[in-house]
């Protein structure tokens, strides 16, 4: 397996479950985990990217299987400890915090009705059973994919600025894209696929690093970190996988790294044109004391209305302690505005102090004393953080071909689904493992 993110680790999980142990997961970074990577300091563990898992629906069989294995789901009951504690979310709107992310305070009645109508429409889509997780099991070619989410909102008469902010927030959060750069099918999928019967999501101090770590514990002996694959060459019936220190001879390769990278290592790489990735910036702020709160209690997910960023999550939120003195906050921003390539240049250009100032100004709106509380800021730049489901991609011929491509090399990254979420990465990893097992079995 090339790539030790959730796709690669899930492929390993699947292989091991079938008693197949003769595999290596090669990871470029010093630590595996991919978008579920995490860090830790003397205050708390904290996430570097993905930080929650929505409570899986019944159709998400693989995720539920993993959850049962990890003790998160027992006799149909979700473990309260790992479900996000109250209060889950709050929104800084008109100079004060309100509960929940759906704007309530100061929203005119007509616009509130649009929210209700939007919910009804989403409910209808959810009822169609086409918006599933994993998307593969429900997705049917749809005209919705031909237009952007923004266009769809306009056509449906949803012109409320509050609702538009809300939908844009969802698109930025899961796809790193604005509604106008997101396929309406994917935009609706974000809302319609999450009709949960339990109050979630599942979360941990280190975010999805908790899940990645559990998988890693099971695959410890199979993972080689700090090894970047620079080439994959055919040698008879085998494949030679080249890394700077070691070369591996393999009967099959699962390419769990982003699909667009394949063309840099093999000659007959598939066409990935049309695959677009969103750049991100993530910061972890270590706080020696917590900013003052007036008439509000800090939630797990704290969002600022009309901010270019996505807000912050609190790593110590799941602590059982009743008094928290120090904490780590993870601040996120998808560089959604503008062209991804230009934004990647911006990431390369700007240094730590630029982003430090940027994020403190953002947070200062809601926490005037934030500068006095922060003792350390760690920042990570992600050039290709997640696949972006632009219009006409999900049901394109190119994507369909990518999913079926290869015999001894198969693809597994979540970008095959069009968007990068834990469940899709796991599904693609498991599917790839099954294809490889079939091939090895028949050989």
């Amino acid at each position: 397996m090339v790539g030790g993110g959730i796709a690669g680790l899930s492929a390993g999980w699947r292989l091991a479950k079938h008693g197949f142990r003769d595999f290596i997961i090669v990871e470029m970074e010093q630590r595996a985990g991919g978008n579920s990577r995490w860090g830790e300091n003397e205050v708390s563990a904290y996430p570097w990217a993905a930080h929650y898992l929505p409570v899986p629906n019944r159709e998400s069989a693989l995720v539920r299987e993993l959850c049962s294995e990890l003790g998160l789901l027992e006799d149909g009951v979700w473990s309260e400890r790992h479900l996000c504690h109250s209060p889950q979310e709050r929104l800084f709107l008109h100079g004060r915090w309100q509960e929940g992310l759906e704007p309530e305070v100061g929203v005119p009645r007509e616009q509130k009705q649009q929210f209700r109508r939007f919910e009804e429409r989403i409910g209808e889509f959810a009822g169609s059973r086409q918006f599933t997780i994993p998307m593969d099991i429900g997705a049917r070619a749809s005209a919705l994919d031909q237009v952007s989410m923004d266009e769809w909102l306009r056509r449906e008469g949803f012109d409320s600025p509050y609702l538009n902010w809300y939908v844009n927030y969802g698109c930025r959060d899961d796809y790193g894209a604005l509604a106008r750069d997101t396929s309406a099918w994917a935009g609706i999928h974000y809302f319609a696929s999450r009709q949960h019967d339990e109050r979630g999501p599942l979360t941990w101090p280190e975010g999805n690093g908790w899940l990645a770590n559990k998988l890693l514990e099971r695959l410890e002996r199979n993972v080689r970190a700090s090894a970047m694959v620079t080439g994959v060459r055919r040698e008879g019936r085998r494949l030679r996988v080249v890394t700077p220190e070691t070369e591996f001879l393999a009967e099959a390769v699962i390419w769990a790294a982003p699909s667009y990278l394949l063309r840099y290592v093999i000659e007959d790489a598939p066409d990935t044109s049309g695959l677009i990735y969103s750049p991100w910036i993530v910061a972890n702020l270590t706080l020696d004391r917590l900013p003052r709160e007036i008439n509000s209690e800090r939630a797990w997910d704290n969002v600022l209305f009309d901010s270019a960023a996505l807000g912050y999550v609190v790593a110590t939120h799941q602590s059982l302690r009743s008094r928290i003195v120090r904490s780590v906050w993870t601040w996120y921003m998808a560089l959604a505005e503008g062209v991804p390539a230009a934004n990647r240049n911006l990431l390369l250009e700007k240094d730590w102090s630029y982003w430090k100032e940027f994020l403190l100004r953002d947070l200062e709106r809601a926490h005037p004393d934030i500068r006095q509380c922060v003792s350390r800021i760690d920042i990570m730049r992600f050039g290709h953080a997640m696949a972006r489901p632009v219009p006409r991609w999900i049901f394109s011929e190119t994507r369909r071909r990518l999913c079926r491509w290869g015999t001894d090399i198969v693809l597994a990254n979540s970008d095959l689904s069009g968007f990068s979420i834990f469940e899709e990465a796991q599904y693609r990893g498991v599917k790839a493992a099954d294809r490889v097992l079939r091939r090895l079995g028949s050989a």
Partner: protein, 498 residues
């Protein structure tokens, strides 16, 4: 130079108005009836300014020196006006008298400022120009102050620090004047030293403003405050009036020594007396040692572990003479072990099993405290409960917060425990609720330890009877990921407190 002088006029005018507004606001805060307070404060202040203006004609020579002295006095009295008034309210009966004395003093001094300033500037402007310029800046200063006061001073600095800040401005003007007119005054060094001394005094006032306010909040409590301290976790205040000692945590009453025996006997004995062989006991919360005092009445008990987050709280109740009398030195008893840790994580890391557990936490006023009332918490607690053991939780008032009370019962039930809800009347609190829980059948005990002041074995069955207005209501259980209890509680007590 004229511009700088006019800036001084602007500043002293602003300071003058600020003190007037401060006095009016403070009087309204503390005495109520803001119309009366503001009218009388403004009236006497303006009147005093008239006195000052009149008195200015008696000042002949050394105009600049007098002006500097007046500024320093305004800075000193004005700067400390809030402090003096807060303390006067908390510790004396002469608040009103002092209020008007301070207002008159500042007013008179401020009344001197402008006439003196005009005479100092006399030679530099034509009379027509002088009156126009000085009064323009005087009124501009007033406008500035009136905007600054509500928008910045009160919200950002507060009344005590705000006054000191403007006192520093006055002293600054004084010091600055000694430089502007260094050729017109004698004894320059002495004057400047005075300026620096006043500024130093105000600086100290700025640093200790918070402690001064702490001292002054004695007036929050009806009785004499005998102890007050901010610990890392909470504000502890103990008051005493005759033989009534009261404990407040974050201004919430925790007990009154007049009737705490009712609360603590009701909390401990219906459960503990029903576990005849109980040897190992646990108290979660309850750092006042009063529940432990009741538990020590059972001679078979071998050990009592008390887990309370706040070390200063347990220290206070094991060392303070008056409080030790109250809990009969329970926290220092050889059988008692005090652990200063957060209860939830402590239960998580500890493996001990107990025959009787008292859960005596503050009410679930916020989500942090609400965690201690969740199914996850009670499930964990149940793992520390022996098979025949019982646990009891204080669960707020079933009369005032009926849904909250029954929500706690429902939560314990969902955590797999059998629950036996009961209530007792505690005058300081009103009708109060408790919930007994265990893994087995419970029967009220037929005998209780001797020496109880409130409970008698014969009345126990009544405690488990529910009058119609407190009877069970349908509620949801409180869970970590859906803390309904905090919402019930907030809504219900808001209605009561109205």
């Amino acid at each position: 130079m004229p511009a700088l002088l006019l800036l001084s006029v602007f500043l002293i005018a602003a300071c003058g108005l600020i003190y007037e507004l401060l006095a009016g606001t403070l009087a309204s805060y503390l005495l109520g009836d803001s119309v009366l307070q503001f009218s009388t404060v403004i009236g006497s202040y303006l009147f005093a300014m008239g006195i000052g203006s009149y008195l200015s004609k008696f000042i002949g020579k050394g105009l600049v020196t007098r002006f500097v002295t007046v500024e320093l006095l305004v800075g000193l009295i004005g700067g400390f006006s809030s402090t003096i008034l807060f303390l006067a309210f908390a510790y004396t009966h002469g608040f009103r008298l002092l209020l008007y004395l301070v207002v008159l003093a500042i007013g008179t001094l401020v009344g001197l400022e402008i006439p003196l300033m005009m005479r100092i500037l006399k030679g530099r402007f034509e009379f027509r120009e002088l009156v126009a310029q000085v009064l323009t800046f005087d009124y501009l200063g007033a406008l500035g102050a009136s905007l600054l006061f509500p928008l910045w001073l009160v919200p950002q600095l507060g009344l005590v620090k705000g006054a000191v800040f403007f006192g520093l401005l006055n002293a600054g003007v004084a010091l600055w004047t000694t430089f502007l007119f260094r050729d017109r005054i004698g004894g320059l060094v002495g004057l400047r030293v005075m300026c620096l001394l006043v500024m130093a005094a105000l600086g100290v006032g700025m640093t200790y403003a918070d402690q001064i306010l702490d001292l002054a909040d004695g007036n929050l409590y009806a009785d004499e405050v005998i102890f007050a301290r901010n610990t890392r976790y909470q504000r502890i205040v103990i008051t005493k009036w005759k033989d009534d000692i009261r404990l407040f945590l974050n201004a919430h009453l925790q007990f009154s020594s007049r009737d705490e025996h009712r609360y603590h006997e009701a909390l401990v004995h219906p459960g503990l007396a029903a576990v005849p062989g109980a040897r190992r006991l646990l108290v979660l919360g309850g750092g006042d040692g009063l529940a432990v005092r009741e538990m020590l009445k059972y001679s078979l008990v071998e050990s009592i572990t008390l887990v309370d987050l706040d070390a200063e709280m347990t220290h206070l109740f094991s060392t303070h003479a008056l409080l030790k009398t109250l809990n009969q030195g329970s926290l220092s008893a050889p059988k008692v072990k005090v652990v200063n840790q957060d209860a939830f994580p402590w239960l998580e890391t500890n493996n001990d099993v107990f025959d009787f557990v008292v859960i005596d936490f503050p009410d679930p006023t916020n989500f942090s405290l609400g965690k201690l009332y969740t199914t996850a918490f009670y499930r964990l607690m149940a793992r520390h409960l022996s098979e025949g053991g019982l646990a009891v939780a204080q669960a707020t008032s079933p009369l005032f917060a009926r849904q909250s009370y029954w929500c706690v019962a429902e939560t314990m039930k969902l955590a797999g425990l059998r629950v036996y809800p009961y209530h007792a009347y505690v005058p300081s609190f009103g009708e109060w609720g408790f919930i007994l829980a265990g893994k087995r059948e419970y029967e009220p005990p037929h005998s209780l330890p001797g020496g109880l002041k409130f409970l008698q074995a014969a009345m126990l069955p009544q405690l488990f009877q529910w009058p119609a207005d407190m009877a069970p209501v349908p509620v949801e259980a409180n869970r970590l990921n859906d803390q309904v209890l905090v919402r019930y509680y907030e809504r219900e007590w808001r209605e009561v407190a109205r």
